[in-house]
């Protein structure tokens, strides 16, 4: 099935980890037979890793004020630097593109801006932006879980924590703080053994929307579940199956109701 001759383009894609798994296995098998080619691939990977090690520190540098769009004079204000209607509109326009290529934009539709429907769009938009980021999906990693939980709890003015989802095969990567038109939100990212990511998104709900049942969501093809309990809104989104996301959502809800 996968015994076509290996091409140079495939070798490059293999270095980048971008071959379909069947074909990657075929290239691996081929490399096992040609040690010179295998050492070439190893050398290319070492180059890439060295380049990243040299350049990634730039990502950790504080952003110069001149480059921070949120600080532009006259930028929409309210919550730190974010316009209300514009943000809601932008979130409505996001969808996750198929494949690993990232995310794209679609026309903006007028949509509800309250309740868990709004939360669903925010959560899906956040997933689309961050879950696909292989370099810096989170601000604080799981190795500093306590710091992360404490920080997000402080910013949301509500005790929250990344629930343990090992039972679902999900390992915490870390989390980040996000701005929304309804105030700060927390995004926790989890990953399974295959590297597929699932997001848990939380924020405070308005009193009218303080409690809402578990609802299935489909945000332009990205699926997930939302609910609200006692003023805290939740969204679980990911590329996994509906059933899987539903059971992960149930698990999260149970953990929060226990606490």
């Amino acid at each position: 099935m996968n015994d076509a001759p290996v091409t140079e383009a495939e070798i490059q894609a293999h270095v980048d980890g971008r071959l379909p798994s069947g074909r990657a296995a075929a290239v691996e098998a081929w490399l096992a037979k040609y040690p010179d080619e295998a050492s070439r691939v190893a050398s290319y990977r070492a180059q890439r890793d060295a380049l990243r090690a040299a350049l990634d520190p730039v990502l950790d540098e504080p952003l110069p004020l001149a480059l921070d769009l949120r600080l532009r004079e006259g930028a929409p204000t309210g919550r730190p630097g974010f316009g209300r209607s514009a943000l809601a509109a932008s979130i409505a326009g996001l969808l996750l593109a198929g494949g690993g290529a990232g995310w794209t934009l679609r026309g903006l539709d007028a949509q509800a801006t309250t309740g868990t429907a709004a939360l669903a769009r925010e959560a899906a938009a956040s997933y689309a932006i961050y879950a696909d980021d292989r370099t810096r999906p989170v601000e604080i990693g799981a190795d500093q879980r306590r710091t992360l939980d404490a920080w997000l709890s402080r910013r949301l003015s509500r005790p929250i924590a990344a629930p343990d989802l090992d039972a679902a095969g999900l390992r915490l990567i870390g989390g980040r703080l996000l701005p929304t038109e309804h105030g700060p939100a927390a995004l926790y990212l989890y990953q399974n053994a295959a590297g597929e990511r699932t997001a848990l998104y939380l924020r405070i709900m308005k009193s009218d929307d303080a409690t809402d049942r578990m609802t299935r969501r489909d945000e332009d093809g990205l699926r997930g579940w939302t609910w609200a309990d006692d003023g805290l809104g939740f969204g679980v989104f990911g590329a996994a199956s509906d059933d899987f996301l539903h059971s992960a959502a149930d698990m999260v809800r149970a953990r929060y109701r226990q606490s």
Binding site: Q12, D16, Y44, L55, A66, R72, G93
Partner: protein, 180 residues
């Protein structure tokens, strides 16, 4: 460039998370922190001014990198015309991309110095694919060449860099030295 143009809330939400990566690519191309950040600022101004013209159906990341890349090429051409004062290896330490940290710093400067010796078209592909993790299709858009060209440039860039690294090792073991 007037800094008076204002980004919309939508643009802030979508673009702000991508700025660190734009800085990284600019730094890698120009290897000068201040000039690279200045370049990113230029690119952001263009993006703000042309926000409505972007093609909504395609990758925002590719669109931003295209703007940045083209402005970087303009700067590098101007540099070449002015006769940029020093070969890249002679730029004072403090202005280089990489903050010196521990013993890895020397090796990291070396990889950057070697990459600086690649032809421009190969360097861009190497960075966009290997560091920025653009898809091959996105890189083809940014550089305005067919995807097949991306693959062949990538192959040539990696092989050339491998030979440069081997030469370095042979010339002065055990640590690489590039400066003549």
């Amino acid at each position: 460039m007037t800094p008076s143009m204002q980004p919309s809330g939508e643009m802030i939400t979508l673009v702000q998370p991508l700025i660190p990566a734009l800085r990284r690519y600019a730094r890698a191309l120009l290897r000068d922190r201040d000039e690279a950040d200045d370049l990113v600022q230029d690119a952001l101004e263009r993006a703000i001014a042309n926000w409505r013209q972007r093609r909504r159906a395609s990758s925002l990341r590719a669109w931003l990198f295209t703007i940045l890349h083209n402005l970087a090429m303009d700067r590098l051409r101007r540099r070449a015309r002015r006769g940029y004062p020093a070969p890249i290896e002679d730029v004072p330490e403090a202005r280089l991309a990489i903050p010196p940290t521990q013993e890895t710093a020397a090796a990291q400067r070396n990889i950057m110095a070697l990459v600086a010796r690649l032809p421009e078209e190969q360097r861009s592909v190497l960075l966009l694919i290997g560091v920025e993790e653009l898809s091959y299709a996105e890189a083809a858009r940014v550089l305005d060449v067919p995807q097949g060209t991306i693959m062949s440039r990538l192959s040539r860039a990696r092989e050339r860099l491998r030979r440069l690294m081997e030469e370095g090792e042979a010339a002065s073991p055990p640590s690489l030295r590039i400066v003549p």
